[in-house]
Subunit: 407 residues, 2 copies
């Protein structure tokens, strides 16, 4: 049986998700401790929750976490403590089911999805893989460069990814090569972490980086599936579109910033001065250790081990940059980091980097070659805080590759 | 008093919007004939609507048109006829208020917003303005190139646009110039037409171009406000982000495809063969005549007059390309054409083209120079079908430029 990751969900985690079961058929807000899924609308009927004087039970009966995410950090903190105490006193047992009996859903309604490119190593490696030179985007040292992604394609971990059809250059090594139509030959993953917006930021106001944590509800893992050949043809001049919009996977559990706070870790130092609103004396990432695996023919190969502390731009920077022009953020909006990559080869978070855009394969545990993903390959992405002993983690984000649709 | 555009809203239009008033305080579905706004939930209580055997009255009481847009074309067509007959028999009078007493809202909840670049002239003129050469994007002749835009920033005509703050190159004429932070100096408009998705397209299915009309509810005018300096720095490598995401304006009325059908007009011939799913023997645009105006110091100048028939890629192509990789479309999604531009200077739909990225100003009616928009400038965009005599049009899409926020 697959690992349930119970060790990620200790009493210090208390993540939030949306769950249903045969007993509780309506998707609703839940948390997880060990292998117990706790249904929060029922738990919030107890006095310790009523004392918080917010209509928690009805908020937790909603089919997304958007309303809860928008509540003040103060109330969310009280709820966290009340859940921990209800668990200690066994009060939560009556509102619980085993993880194996429960179906998990997308945790929030995502009104807008932004994907940044916040890693130094990723931008340099991607530049080398695509253009043969290690060069920063012109703005890289001033702000995280990002683009808007597709909301309708975001699914929760476990959904299979169908190889997309599209148009691309038949052989990118041949100048002026034909553009053909067919199933992508360059299917890739991108291992990312994403922030879920809590308290909204009104359009026309803006945030300083140092104040942005107030608007982050928590983090998820995210796999930004990418078709490199389809993407390659469309990048000039408008950026990623069909090369990315066919699917994006996230973990079902949102780990709150409060759970992550004890595991803050300094971000890399600034290489160039930044604008005042981007200046963050306490520039921090979180000590999240990430592992990427490819499962082929029943054999598991680890393709990546990297720490989130490597990211040059932090979520505070990403959110400040996002709002400075007047763009509003709504509760539930997703802001992703871009591929997490370290400077070592085993720290590369996508195949574009690891196989130099498919040109230099790696060998998997079953002795087969990996350039890009093949039909039947499964990608598993796991994130845990610190050395794994503190009981805080994200579980896994998985998806198996299905063959392209028949035309 | 401003033109109410009553002549755009004849009996052959029957557009849909969301309206409220002091008498009818809840925003709800409405149509417009002449200067009368007809509240449809009330009208649908009459027998002629009940015969359609769809719960129209409750659908029209919703705060967006998403549910109505998703209904079959057959039902929508019956509703159109019933509205026209109710008007002729004066039945609609009791459910009507004057346009001057009514507030109009965003007509749909927009789950995803896509912006294409479908005009030959726009891509060549923009290439020349930015890079000094008239060159097509590599994929241009195979499919419309597009990117995802920001949903939270879409507002209905009339909302002012605040000049965005951002980071950009101080003087793009000087190589390796400083990146500075401040109010944009390159605020521009982009005159576009956008399709509103009706019947959804499920993720993982796909559409042939020739079948895509089935999924288009109707069209709106759209102003894709752009800050060229902010956008210029961020284009490499991920495309438009803060240069566009501060605001997008649309008209409050969605003109249905059924109203536009008699005004189909051939799109330009293909310059290169296309993939089979993109092949559309009846490649059509609509005979929509567009006018762009800048109002400064009380004086009106026409900056653009162009026909929508100039667009190389049609909405059918845009939607087919959108779905081919597996991306789903939901009712209410917005798919915009990109700047509409003809080959003559007076047909250029943005200042990037008209003033060569601010380098060659034009002279307005008040003798002042226009390079980019100044604080206080108002942009008005009007669209009418055919020569204006057929009673079908979009009204106007307007917004006035407010000074940048103080830091």
């Amino acid at each position: 049986m697959a690992d349930s990751y119970a060790s990620h969900f200790g009493i210090n985690n208390i993540p939030y998700g949306i769950a249903s079961s045969s007993k509780r058929t309506a998707p609703q807000c839940a948390t997880r401790i060990g292998d117990d899924i706790i249904f929060l609308a029922e738990l919030a009927e107890y006095d310790s929750f009523k004392a918080i004087s917010t209509p928690l039970s009805s908020i937790f009966r909603e089919t997304t976490l958007n309303t809860f995410a928008a509540l003040s950090k103060d109330i969310q903190s009280k709820v966290r403590v009340a859940i921990q105490e209800a668990h200690k006193s066994n009060l939560s047992k009556k509102c619980s089911e085993s993880v194996k009996d429960v179906k998990l859903h997308l945790p929030v309604h995502i009104g807008d999805f932004t994907d940044y490119s916040a890693s130094v190593n990723h931008v340099l490696n991607a530049s080398e893989a695509v253009r043969g030179i290690r060069e920063y985007p012109p703005a890289f040292h001033k702000y995280p460069v990002g683009y808007a992604g597709r909301c309708s394609s975001i699914t929760v971990s476990g959904a299979p990814v169908r190889r997309p059809l599209g148009q691309f250059i038949e052989d990118y090594t041949v100048p002026k090569n034909n553009i053909i139509f067919g199933p992508s030959r360059g299917l890739d993953y991108e291992l990312e972490v994403a922030a879920v917006i809590g308290k909204p930021v009104e359009s026309g106001t803006y945030l300083n980086a140092k104040d942005a944590d107030e608007h982050i509800f928590g983090l998820v893992l995210l796999n930004d599936w990418s078709a490199r050949d389809i993407q390659g043809l469309e990048m000039n001049p408008l950026g990623p579109f069909n090369g990315k919009n066919f699917m994006t996977s996230i973990t079902p559990w949102i780990v709150t910033l409060e759970a992550l706070k004890p595991f803050e870790i300094p971000a890399p130092p600034r290489m160039q001065p930044v604008a005042e609103f981007m200046d963050d004396p306490k520039s921090i990432n979180y000590n999240i250790q990430l592992e990427g695996q490819v499962l082929r023919n029943g054999t598991q190969s680890t393709t990546c081990k990297v720490g989130f502390e490597t990211m040059y731009w932090t979520f505070r920077h990403m959110i400040a940059h996002h709002t400075i022009g007047g763009c509003g953020l709504r509760s539930g909006d997703l802001v992703a980091s871009g591929t997490v990559s370290g400077d070592q080869k085993h720290e590369h978070g996508c195949l574009l980097e690891l196989t130099n855009n498919g040109k230099v394969p790696i060998t998997l545990s079953d002795e087969s070659e990996l350039r890009f993903l093949e039909d039947g390959d499964e990608v598993r992405y796991i994130g845990v805080v610190g050395d794994g002993s503190v009981g805080v983690g994200f579980g896994e984000c998985v998806g198996v590759v299905k063959p392209a649709r028949q035309l």
